[in-house]
């Protein structure tokens, strides 16, 4: 038994496994079976069967590895929410190309294989594995040796555009991407190179140190046109020490000052660890809503994978924050956002991404869109997109909302405020007296609305191929292949020759579709 995987989440060792399956005297199982799926053994990473079961109103994944015993992991704290959320599904979008055959079955054919059910909404391109922090919660495994070449980067971006055509966002990650010596050339290639206009937002996943400490770099960052995706876990002293290995609060606040000073468009990305900073969700939301530069806040409940999985909790059981728990914490801590305001983003699996979009009123307060729009239209507008775009569906939804509110027999003070605020927004955005460019319109829309996302990554304990198959957050490989984030982190990263040149190639290897076959198709 590998002790570091957490003994409480292991419900039996190999020998105990047979006892667990022996009929109990009352012949009554403690849990109700809900569905069958596939997962991996947290110890040997072999693909194994898994059951999703209900017990005491919770949802658990139970699985048994022939070599390492049985494992049980909570996947949702609320069975009713879990079942209802599965209804939020829409047909996926096909990518323009697949790169691998269905040969060994999910998750061994990544990627994307012909069985993958969703295109790429949120591609992540890791441009280095060099970082000046050694965060205990890090989900990757920085080896401090890899720096992507410009040529390799260009090739990967070219392939990505070939697979998707256009992208709402592209995230450059690492390591710490701002430490890459050719960082700004990479930004230039995406935003002003041959694919200019194809990527609507270039996000840079960063701890923010260079923005905070290097004024010249911060200026250049602003000029680059990229968005800062800032890790911001806490607003209290002492928390960073535990989550990031060193006290960073002053630096984070300095970085936020720079964001305000230079008007750098920013996404806040707090990693939430139960018992460490999960009491700060409300404060982080209020901070984000108060900053014009912040377009969204993405809460990431901690996943026990990568370096974080190896050491942060000796026992992940009891430290997992599931989607409904995060909703509940937000409700408790804000007092005005309610759990029913959060809906699964239909492009991914309901257990992976939920979101709510907020609209700013005349008086500066925010109101969640689900408060005044038709939820079906709302979900349609969100379909297969990581960000809410100003398209026909959104326009129809807002116009319908305006009409419904206006024609209601009883119009409350708040509905009047919503109506007037919507009107102000339209009047200021599309007005011949103050013509705006498309980029200015998008920026104004961002100022008027914000999004709160909860993005739940999987680790070896709760990895579920049903979630993987619908994944839209994909790592971009240098050869242009796309790997669903959680399959890559849990199965492929440790044999990626970029980071682990001496590692043995993963077997069985995914079967690539040849370039000529792709062209023929």
């Amino acid at each position: 038994m590998e002790a570091h995987w957490g003994e409480e989440s292991v419900i039996s060792t190999q020998s105990a496994a047979s006892e667990c399956c022996a009929p109990r005297p009352d012949r009554q199982r403690a849990e109700a079976f809900f569905s069958y799926t596939r997962s991996i053994c947290p110890t040997c990473r072999d693909v194994i069967d898994a059951h999703i079961v209900f017990r005491d109103g919770r949802v658990l994944m139970q699985k048994k590895c022939p070599k390492h015993g049985a494992f049980e992991t909570e996947v949702s704290s609320d069975a009713q929410y879990y079942v209802e959320s599965l209804g939020y599904t829409k047909p996926g979008t096909l990518p323009l190309r697949f790169d691998t055959r269905v040969a060994h079955g999910c998750p061994l054919d990544c990627g994307l294989c012909e069985d993958h059910l969703q295109h790429t909404c949120s591609p992540i391109l890791e441009i280095n594995d060099v970082c000046d922090l050694t965060c205990p919660v890090c989900i990757v495994r920085n080896q401090q040796g890899y720096s992507m070449s410009l040529e390799s980067f260009q090739h990967a971006v070219d392939k990505l555009i070939e697979a998707e055509g256009e992208l709402p966002i592209l995230l450059l990650s690492g390591g710490e991407p701002t430490l890459h010596p050719r960082f700004f050339e990479f930004c230039d290639y995406v935003l002003r190179g041959p694919h200019a206009g194809k990527v609507r937002r270039l996000l840079i996943s960063s701890h923010g140190r260079k923005i905070a400490n290097n004024p010249r770099f911060a200026e250049r960052f602003k000029q680059s046109g990229a968005y800062l995706s800032l890790q911001l876990d806490s607003l209290r002293p002492g928390v960073y020490d535990k989550l990031r290995g060193v006290e960073l609060l002053d630096m984070k606040l300095q970085c936020l000052d720079k964001v305000k000073e230079l008007d750098i468009p920013t996404v806040l990305v707090p990693t939430i660890s139960k018992g460490d900073n999960c009491a700060e969700l409300g404060a982080l939301i209020e901070l984000g809503l108060g900053l014009d530069q912040v377009s969204s806040i993405v809460f990431q409940p901690m996943a026990h994978t990568g370096d974080g999985g190896d050491g942060f909790h000796t026992n992940p059981a009891g430290h997992r924050l599931t989607m409904p728990e995060v909703h509940q914490l937000i409700e408790e801590q804000t007092g005005w956002l309610r759990r029913e305001h959060f809906h699964p983003v239909p492009c991914s699996h309901p257990s992976c991404y939920t979101a709510t979009y907020l609209f700013r009123l005349r008086d500066g307060r925010y109101v969640p869109l689900p408060e005044f729009v038709d939820v079906r239209q709302y979900l349609d507008a969100m379909t297969n997109q990581a960000i809410l775009r100003t398209d026909d569906k959104l326009e129809r939804m807002l116009l319908d909302a305006i009409t419904e509110l206006w024609s209601a027999t009883k119009v409350g003070e708040d509905s009047q405020l919503v109506l007037h605020s919507l009107k102000d927004f339209l009047k200021q955005t599309f007005n011949s007296r103050n013509p705006l460019t498309p980029v200015e319109i998008e920026r104004r829309t961002e100022l008027q609305s914000k999004a709160i996302f909860i993005h739940s990554f999987m680790d070896p304990f709760d990895l579920d191929v049903a979630r993987l198959k619908k994944c839209c957050t994909h790592y971009v490989m240098p050869d242009g292949r796309l790997m669903p984030g959680c399959s890559y982190n849990n199965l492929y990263r440790q044999s990626d020759p970029r980071f682990f040149p001496k590692a043995q190639a993963r077997t069985p290897a995914p079967v690539l579709i040849s370039e000529s076959e792709i062209l023929d198709a």
Binding site: T390, D391, D392, E395, L399, I402, T403, W406, S407, L419, L422, K423, L426, K427, T429, F430, N431, S432, R433, P435, L436, T437, P438, I441
Partner: protein
């Protein structure tokens, strides 16, 4: 963004509008600036009004001055007394007006149910009533000289069922009604009145149209592109010229051939 200079030359004295005294409203905007410049190229003396964008007004002025006389008049067309001052300035400078182009217009995206009376009034002041007042005042000298041309810049929203703010579409419908009725009333005095129903033009009110509607327009346009302001200006100059002798009371579509 201001309209750029137009690169074409004319042979002196051979222009469509040689020595015509032309007044154009909204000369700092994309289409208005092009009308002023192309008319000047065609030999007209051009007076134009502008209200908010001084930089673009100066640019229009310098483009017109490259060909001939120019009079730039700062005026807020919502002000009911502005029309008399504008026409007075041109008549004082040049002794009369031969051609009036009612081009100035504003638009804002407000759903119908949220429109209040003040917003409708304000838009109508610029898009319709100022045109009515300027036309009445300009027609005086035109009637005296038994010759004149009036061109109203309308929009395809004035007569087609396409997305657009209701008060804006109403104003363009009103302008077209005014065009037809006036043509009848002023035709006997040698004054021809026409309108151009413009599609979406670069530099026009395009910025007030959400991108998705612009894309829809391109799909429906047989030329698959937006208009260039000078394309509208060339048509204005023909309708305003003495070569136009039999087009009257017409609404001419200049939209690259879009679905009716």
């Amino acid at each position: 963004m201001c309209a750029g200079p137009l690169a074409s030359a004319r042979t002196p004295g051979a222009g469509l509008l040689t020595d015509q005294r032309m007044l154009v409203t909204g000369g700092s905007g994309g289409i208005g600036s092009a009308i002023c410049t192309v008319a000047a190229r065609e030999g007209a003396r051009v007076a134009f009004t502008w209200s908010t964008n001084e930089t673009c007004a100066k640019q229009t002025e310098s483009q017109v001055l490259a060909y001939g006389d120019c009079l730039a008049i700062h005026a807020d067309l919502r002000d009911r007394s502005a029309a008399a001052r504008i026409v007075g300035s041109v008549e004082q400078a040049w002794g009369g007006i031969d051609v009036l182009v009612n081009n100035a217009a504003v638009s804002e995206a407000i759903p119908f149910i949220l429109l209040d009376d003040d917003e409708v009034d304000e838009l109508f002041e610029v898009n319709v009533l100022s045109a009515l007042r300027l036309t009445r005042l300009s027609a005086k000298s035109m009637i005296r000289q038994k010759r004149g041309r009036i061109v109203n810049i309308s929009s395809i929203t004035g007569s087609r069922c396409i997305p657009g703010p209701v008060h804006y579409a109403m104003s363009k419908g009103a302008l077209e009604g005014m065009t037809r009725s006036l043509a009848h009333e002023l035709g006997p005095y040698g004054i021809l009145v026409n309108a151009i129903a413009a599609g979406i033009y670069e530099g026009g009110l395009k910025t007030t149209i959400p991108e998705r509607h612009q894309a829809r327009y391109l799909d429906a346009c047989s030329l698959s592109r937006f208009g260039r302001p000078e394309e509208c200006a060339e048509l204005v100059c023909f309708l305003a010229s003495s070569r136009n002798t039999y087009v009257n009371g017409a609404v001419v579509f200049s939209d690259g051939g879009t679905l009716g």
